[in-house]
């Protein structure tokens, strides 16, 4: 699973700390999410998507299994 958090955050000219504040997690969590080391829970994915005004599918990209 990949995500567009870094891209969307930069579009809004937000720092990682500001995004972390907005969705009530630590900056380390945002760093890990952006680098793809950590996958957000459904609740956090919902919070992040809601913050950007998008759906979860628009922020988090689920890759289809290769046939």
């Amino acid at each position: 699973m990949t995500n567009r958090i870094s891209e969307l955050r930069k579009d809004l000219r937000l720092s990682q700390a500001e995004l972390a504040d907005a969705v009530d997690v630590t900056r380390q969590t945002i760093i890990s999410l952006e680098s793809g080391r950590y996958n957000a829970s459904l609740l956090l994915a919902h919070k992040i998507a809601k913050f950007f005004g998008l759906t979860i599918e628009e922020v988090f990209l689920f890759e289809e299994d290769a046939p």
Partner: protein, 141 residues
């Protein structure tokens, strides 16, 4: 004593008891039997460690700014940190199991008898605690 709040009274008292026990055991020396001396030093160590760390944490707690306090609270409930703690706890369970098996083997080779039984009971309890908690959480989730 001025800066010492009500919450620090118990840890302070425990630290005092720990120091008292340690000093008494050291002064009495060989007049105490080996198990009693070990018990005194063990209790002093545990009490001193727990109460000392509590007092140090209380000291730092007073020096935190509201922003730092908020950040610490957030870190406490952060979902990634919770996942890290859960994974660390589970890995630690395996590490302590290997340690217990090592102790069991050591007691088997060196002393035997009651110590082998103690180590065996510890291994069984270690596994039982995990099973009890797995069962408890499978009902909750």
């Amino acid at each position: 004593m001025k800066g010492m709040g009500k919450h620090n009274l118990l840890p302070g008292l425990c630290l005092g008891i720990a120091v008292g026990l340690g000093v008494a055991a050291a002064m009495l020396g060989e007049r105490l039997s080996s198990p009693v001396s070990g018990l005194c030093f063990g209790l002093a160590g545990v009490l001193g460690g727990l109460s000392g760390s509590r007092l140090i944490m209380a000291h730092f707690d007073r020096t935190w700014t509201p922003e730092e306090r908020k950040e610490i609270e957030r870190a406490e409930h952060d979902e990634r940190n919770m996942v890290i703690r859960e994974k660390a706890a589970y890995a630690s369970w395996y590490w302590s199991l290997y340690l217990l098996w090592g102790l069991w083997l050591l007691t088997l080779v060196t002393s035997g008898g009651m110590y082998v039984a103690f180590a065996s009971v510890a291994i069984v309890l270690h596994c039982v605690f995990l099973m009890v908690n797995v069962n408890r959480w499978s009902k909750k989730l």
